[in-house]
């Protein structure tokens, strides 16, 4: 592979989180009974007219601005013609010559290297429905609930050079969509989808090689695997003196390879033309200004601020800001307990573990920022040890009870009473005369052994500082 470099461009389809479809008033709610969110417009009945959803336009404009695109004051919807039963009009309403937004860019970082990826265009279009094919009968079953759900297609320049860069770009793009609250970013459910155009060329060459378009990439891991496989497949062809064919290839998840979709190529003549049912889309300067004002702090800016304002390491800042609600959680907890480093450590280790196990988003965490602040405060005041805090963390998470309540209920408060601890320390020292001798003759490492014994006997509830102090006093 070293003699070649990969050239990758990505096409991302993001479902917009509007309540209704792009051209009709049907609900976009996911998971409803088949064909319950349909009407004459999205089923393609004759004589109906599409009417554009204002919110879908606003969301698309927001994304355009967030990735530094020029939002065109005038764009045009076009018909993309092809036959498939989940597209009942036999054309998809999309944009072609005059898209909503163009000439944007997105900064990515891979292994510490920063790079800017060009965004060619962002255009609006409608989603298609879904079909299920019968295995036994000559039948396909068509559900049009998704037909007409608003999408934006974000097309990158062929600026990406590796699978790592492609994944970094996708993650950055997804984070922005989620921060803008215009897309839920769910790859498995298909609200964030990606096709990859991959070609290779001799290192240093200017001319592009023949590309393959990869489909069925429904997780970041699949995107990475499929691109890596495709790069090596094409390199083998070129080394053997063969040619790469321009074609669409499906990623086979089980085998980890890409497979040609033969025979589909001739259908790629979409005969786009402007849709006479829709007037050109004019973006008023006021709408543009409103959308510009509504853009919140974006992930990369927030990550940078977390590093400067809270003094967090880059990796922590990156993980915390990757999801908006996790960053919000961190800031809420830090307001209540102003030690960002500690809050960050607890979130990254304990909270994320619980959230992942329960498959819950930070915004729905039963263990609230208030709970976390309370827990950390209890460690500081000596009421509980950090070991007990770690131990009850999952209890707070599952029961939603406050840490205080759980400590009281389970009798886990730290033993900071000198009299009580002294008795325990004495019994440990008496039971281990050999170790005491050794300690006195210089084996000070045994301190850990004594502390450990005391902690064991008190089930971790002894105040470790006090235990240390007491043992030292006794052994001096």
């Amino acid at each position: 592979m070293s003699a070649y470099e990969a050239v990758i461009g990505l096409e991302v389809h993001a479902q917009l989180r509007t309540r209704t479809k792009i051209f009709c008033s049907c609900s976009t709610e996911f998971g409803r009974e088949p064909n319950s969110n349909v009407c004459p417009v999205c089923t393609g009945m004759p004589g109906v007219l599409p009417v554009l959803n204002r919110r879908a336009v606003e969301y698309a404009v927001k994304m355009g601005l967030a990735v530094d695109c020029t939002v065109n004051p005038r764009s045009v919807f076009a018909r993309k013609n092809y036959f498939y039963p989940d597209l009942p009009k036999a054309y998809q309403i999309s944009q072609y010559e005059l898209p909503l937004a163009e000439h944007g860019r997105l900064r990515i970082a891979t292994n510490g290297d920063e790079k800017t990826i060009g965004i060619t265009r962002i255009h609006m279009e409608e989603d298609a429905g879904k079909s299920i094919h019968s295995a036994t009968e000559n039948k396909s079953f068509v559900d049009l609930n998704r037909t007409g759900v608003p999408l934006i297609e974000i097309v990158s320049e062929p600026d990406l050079r590796s699978a790592d860069e492609a994944v970094a770009y996708l993650k950055a793009l997804r984070a922005i969509l989620v921060y803008l609250e215009i897309c839920d970013g769910n790859m498995e459910e298909g609200s964030f989808r990606c096709d990859a155009n991959v070609s290779i060329r001799p290192k240093g060459a200017l001319e592009l090689g023949t590309r393959a378009e990869l489909k069925n990439l429904n997780s970041f891991r699949h995107v990475h695997k499929a691109i890596e496989y495709e790069i090596s497949r094409q390199a083998v062809l070129l080394v053997d003196g063969e040619k790469v064919t321009q074609e669409t290839r499906l990623f086979d998840v089980d085998k980890g390879i890409t497979v040609s979709m033969r025979g589909k190529e001739e259908a790629h003549d979409y005969r786009y033309f402007p849709d006479p049912d829709l007037v050109p889309l004019l973006i008023a300067p006021e709408l543009l200004a409103d959308m510009g004002r509504s853009i919140p702090e974006l992930p990369q800016a927030r990550e940078a601020r977390f590093i400067t304002e809270y003094g967090l390491p880059e990796a922590a800042a990156q993980t915390l800001t990757a999801e908006k609600d996790l960053a919000d959680y961190f800031e809420a907890a830090t307001r209540l307990y102003p030690e960002p480093q500690k809050v960050s450590n607890w979130i990254l280790s304990d909270l994320l573990r619980e959230l992942n196990q329960a498959k819950t988003a930070a915004v729905d965490s039963p263990l609230t920022p208030e709970h976390l602040a309370e827990l950390l405060g209890m460690i500081d005041s000596g009421q509980i040890s950090s070991r007990i805090a770690k131990q009850i963390f999952p209890d707070v998470f599952t029961t939603k009870a406050s840490p205080q309540e759980i400590v009281e209920r389970k009798g886990l408060a730290q033993i900071s009473d000198t009299g009580t601890l002294e008795a325990v320390v004495d019994s440990i020292l008496t039971a281990n005369p050999k170790e005491v001798e050794a300690f006195k003759s210089g084996k000070t490492k045994l301190m850990g052994f004594f502390v450990g014994q005391v902690m064991r006997q008190t089930k971790g509830q002894a105040n470790p500082d006090l235990v240390n102090k007491l043992i030292m006093e006794k052994l001096q």
Binding site: T18, R19, T20, S25, C26, S27, E33, P34, N35, S36, V38, C39, P40, T43, M45, V51, L52, N53, R54, R55, A56, V57, V76, N81, F83, Y84, P85, S131, I132, H133, S134, E137, N138, K139, S140, F141, V142, D143, L144, E266, A267, D269, R271, P274, P276, L278, V279, P280, L281, L282
Partner: protein
């Protein structure tokens, strides 16, 4: 520009039609008649004139993002040649 019988056959193929060869010739001829007629328009000098995408002159029409359900599933599936009450059923498409 002229349309050959191959072009006509390709367009027919894209529309999933399979006309008889003599029909293909006939359609290609008709295509060319239409294009010849449209050629008259090309005699006008349109340089510097913005392309007209629609003769409708009113501004962008927006709809508010509010859910409205005007027809039941039964009514919509009622137009389908075949349905099981849940899905539109079509001849199997190998996906």
């Amino acid at each position: 520009m002229s349309i050959s019988t191959d072009d006509a056959a390709k367009v027919a193929g894209l529309a999933r039609l399979n006309p008889a060869p003599e029909k293909i010739t006939q359609f290609a001829d008709q295509f060319n008649d239409i294009l010849d007629y449209m050629q008259k328009l090309n005699e006008l000098d349109t340089s510097g004139i913005e392309p007209l995408y629609t003769p409708v002159t009113h501004e962008t029409v927006f709809r508010d993002d509010e859910v409205l359900k005007e027809y039941s599933r039964e009514e919509l599936l009622g137009n389908a040649p075949e349905t099981d009450g849940n899905y539109f059923i079509v001849p199997r498409i190998v996906g």
